[in-house]
């Protein structure tokens, strides 16, 4: 029986494919770039990686509920910036989201650059027989800076091409990347430790000029680095201590979530939720399968030792380059199981699609938030200006120039800047925390809006689901923020950068965070005052007009 009559009218689109939504969310929790990078740096923890993956996924389901709910209540509104601005008022929404979606992305640039060279440039140059170039790109300082500039050039190209083109590139990259990963997993599950050891020795020597005894040297260097993270097990406490680093990889299932169309009901909420939840579930399962494959053939302890050996050198704890003079990229280690160079080249090229299909969106949210702020007159109109070919040149410059500067600081480790990698996650997590609080209070502060929404009847024990999910997600984020700031290692008398490197004892991290928030606040209050002099009261512009 009909419960609704709809006429032909503009914008009445049908639901999109859940599979498409899955693809984009799956790529956002990027297993190869974010995942491999995060796992490799997590060599010194006590909690089992599989356990940590599962526990984090449980908490991130609540993140997905929060974002799917906010999108259902306020679709097409522009995300965190608009949600927080509407629920809290102007200042908090602006300061948190400008810092989270704009300034923090500057710091992500050298991280993307590092992944570009580790996942794409170095291994491909290696299998193509360009040993010297591969080794140069693996080095400290200038190679990372160059790679960051290449990443910036690629991101700029994507903005120039537009999302219509890039969305298609992403989808093809998904298929190509998955094929590459499937081959890697098959290699891992069909190989054995002896074959790997032999292949590791011979291929490393051929590609990177390593000396015989590389395997044993790597084990020794890894042990000296304190590589200890187990595959499974660990107490609840040790597993939770692992999470603030692991979320660098999987905090992002909501990254590209959007909703279009009108007269959309609860089904669309469920589709949105499903796309993100399936992606989180699939990536978590993929992680477990991959870890088991690594354990079977490469050996879990060796994998962690290789990671420890590399990062112990790269972070400057030991002066000598690690025995394997490039990042131990797991896909490359897997193709060492074959000596067929063509297969190696094909797999490395396919695996590079994980970076190309993902990295282009680096500045997507930044550009959107810059535009939204410019339309709210909190930035000059020129910030949102397009050139004759429709490219937002000024918004790009507002991203590219500071990002290049931050990349310089990071690449050359100016004042220990490289230690603040996790601040890139922290800045966005703080913004998510604001969004989670907004979600908690939405049904009470914007009662009419909520009650006329497609999720009004979704309740747990009489409490709106969005509020319940918001409490759990905010609690999780609160835990992460406390752990990052009050590093448990440092607070038990430990020395060095601590577990996460971004505690209150890390001056660089505190200065970076402080400068970002101070800059946001200065922009907000400066423009507010400036506009007021010009006759525009920005508080009123955001205020609700009385209905009666």
């Amino acid at each position: 029986m009909s419960d609704l009559f709809i006429r032909k009218a503009t914008g009445l689109v049908r639901s999109w494919s859940v599979f498409d939504a899955f693809v984009y969310a799956f790529f956002s929790i990027n297993f190869v770039t974010l995942g491999f990078y995060a796992f490799s740096q997590m060599y010194f923890f006590g909690g089992g990686m599989i356990n940590a993956l599962l526990v984090s996924a449980i908490f991130l389901i609540f993140e997905i509920i929060v974002y799917a709910s906010l999108i259902a209540v306020m679709p097409r509104s522009g995300g965190d910036y608009v949600w927080m601005t509407r629920i809290f008022g102007g200042s908090i929404g602006f300061i948190l989201s400008i810092t989270g979606w704009w300034f923090t992305l500057w710091l992500w640039t050298p991280v993307y650059g590092d992944m570009l060279r580790q996942v794409v440039i170095t291994p491909i140059l290696g299998v193509l027989g360009m040993k010297d170039a591969a080794l140069w790109f693996a080095g400290k300082g200038t190679p990372l800076f160059v790679s960051s500039l290449l990443a910036l050039a690629f991101v700029s190209l994507v903005i120039f091409l537009g999302m219509k083109t890039y969305a298609r590139i992403q989808k093809w990259s998904f298929y190509a990347g998955m094929l590459g990963l499937l081959i890697v997993i098959v290699l891992l599950f069909t190989g054995n430790p002896e074959k790997f050891k032999a292949g590791f020795e011979s291929n490393s020597a051929a590609l990177f000029g390593t000396q015989p005894g590389l395997y044993d040297a790597t084990v020794a260097a890894g042990q000296a680095a304190g590589a200890s993270t187990p595959l499974t097990g660990g107490s609840i406490n040790l597993i939770f201590v692992t999470l603030p680093w692991l979320v660098f990889f999987n905090l992002w299932p909501n990254w590209g979530a959007t909703l279009y169309g009108e007269v959309r009901g609860a089904t669309d909420y469920k589709r949105n939720f499903s796309g993100m939840a399936w992606a989180l579930g699939a990536v978590t399962l993929l992680g477990i399968v991959f870890f088991l494959g690594v354990n079977k053939t490469i050996g879990w302890d060796f994998y962690m030792q290789a990671n420890g050996a590399w990062w112990n050198y790269y972070w400057g704890y030991v002066p000598d380059v690690s025995p394997l003079p490039v990042w131990p990229y797991p896909a490359m280690l897997a193709v060492f199981l074959t000596s067929n160079r063509l297969v190696q080249i094909i797999v490395m090229l396919l695996m590079s699609c994980w970076w190309f299909g993902w990295a282009g969106t680096l500045f997507l949210s930044s550009t959107r938030v810059i535009f939204a702020a410019a339309f709210d007159r909190l930035l000059p109109e020129k910030a949102a200006e397009l050139n004759s070919s429709g490219t937002p040149v000024n918004a790009m410059l507002l991203m590219v120039i500071p990002a290049a500067f931050v990349s310089y600081l990071y690449a050359y480790d100016v004042g220990g800047f490289i230690s603040i990698t996790l601040a890139a996650t922290q800045g966005i997590a703080i913004m998510y925390f604001g969004t989670a609080i907004a979600a908690i209070i939405l049904p009470y502060k914007k009662k009419e809006l909520f009650e006329a929404s497609p999720i009004a009847q979704m309740k747990v024990a009489g409490i709106p689901l969005i509020t319940v999910a918001g409490v759990v997600f905010a609690g999780f984020l609160g835990f992460l923020l406390v752990e990052w700031l009050f590093d448990p290692w440092l607070n038990t008398g430990g020395e060095g950068p601590g577990l996460y490197g971004i505690s209150f004892k890390n001056t660089n991290s505190m200065i970076y965070l402080g400068v970002c928030y101070a800059l946001s606040a200065a922009i907000y209050y400066g423009f507010k005052s400036y506009r007021k002099k010009g006759g525009i009261d920005l508080d009123k512009v955001q205020a609700e007009i009385p209905v009666e």
Partner: protein, 313 residues
């Protein structure tokens, strides 16, 4: 200086219409301009179940109403989203399912009823003020809407006219759009739009200080980015692929005439402002289903725009 408040695409939302009428006082605006698409898109049946009981499905959530208070409350919620509540019975619903023409009649009847209520409200709320509403139905509005607007004392139908907005600024107005996948009431091809625009621009005494109040945004202005759809009207690639759908004829007219200001709507997700040459084009977007009135305040001086800002009311 003249301050205008512009909003568009309120699509039947009672809340948005009330806010729009109050916006003049709230923002100290001298002129109120509504860009088009006043009418809603959905009729929600309230199916009588006997006694005081009704069964209603709103956004795929089922509400079983058992008393007058619940009925009133849900009707208000339905209206707040711009949909039309329709009191009916299971038997009538069964008949309507077989008779699309009758559904269209019900739509028209509900739409016109609400437009009439809105005109009455405007006459009442704006009485004793200098404020008038400049209005042009958009491509989603049925032709029958025009006569009701003409009957209003405070809301003026501006379609196809050149209006002297103040001493220094003329305004041309049209709610017609280029062709859409939905084959709506007021759409035509780009050549026809060109003729429509030229009929008005040729009458402008001072084109460079004019305002183009045209429902559809200009092509490739960034105000016209909408999700790319497949043949079944599904957003492709999960809505990640956006494409420009504005009018090329309008863009050409703006490039040629270079008016001071363009006021547009139509693409609800296209909120923003952009420049085409010297012309500032604005699309405030629409969030009518959330009861939020998106708008734009523009302060006009003789030969320039003194200031402007997009609002979220």
């Amino acid at each position: 200086m003249t301050t205008i408040f512009f909003a568009t695409d309120v699509h039947g939302s009672d809340i948005c219409w009330s806010k729009f009428l109050n916006a003049g006082k709230f923002y100290n605006a001298d002129r109120l301009i509504l860009g088009g698409d006043m009418t809603g898109k959905a009729v929600v049946p309230f199916i009588h179940q006997g006694g005081q009981n009704y069964r209603v499905t709103l956004l795929e959530q089922v509400f079983n109403l058992t008393n007058e208070d619940e009925l009133t409350d849900l009707k208000k919620r339905v209206r707040s989203r711009g949909y039309y509540p329709y009191m009916t019975t299971p038997d009538e619903i069964a008949e309507l399912e077989k008779d699309p023409a009758r559904v269209s009649k019900i739509f028209l009847q509900e739409v016109l009823k609400v437009v009439q209520q809105w005109m009455d409200l405007a006459d009442k709320k704006l009485e004793g003020t200098d404020l008038k509403v400049y209005c042009s139905p958009g491509n989603d509005d049925m032709d029958e809407v025009d006569d009701i607007i003409r009957s209003s004392k405070r809301v003026m139908l501006m379609e196809g006219l050149v209006t002297q907005l103040d001493d220094d600024h003329e305004m041309i107005t049209s709610g017609w759009s280029n062709q859409t996948p939905w084959q709506t009431h007021r759409e035509e091809n780009e050549d026809q739009l060109k003729v429509r625009y030229e009929a008005m621009t040729s009458q402008l005494k001072n084109p460079h200080t004019a305002i183009f109040n045209i429902h559809v945004p200009p092509y490739k202005s960034q105000l016209d980015e909408a999700p790319e759809l497949d043949k079944d009207l599904r957003p492709v690639l999960a809505g990640n692929s956006m494409k420009p759908v504005g009018s090329t004829a309008l863009r050409a007219a703006i490039e040629k005439v270079q008016p001071l200001l363009g006021l547009h709507g139509h693409i609800h997700e296209g909120r923003g402002s952009s420049r085409i040459g010297k012309t500032l084009c604005i699309n405030p977007g629409s969030m009518y289903e959330q009861g939020t009135l998106l708008g734009a305040i523009v302060q006009l001086k003789k030969n320039k725009i003194e200031n402007y800002v997009l609002t979220t009311g």
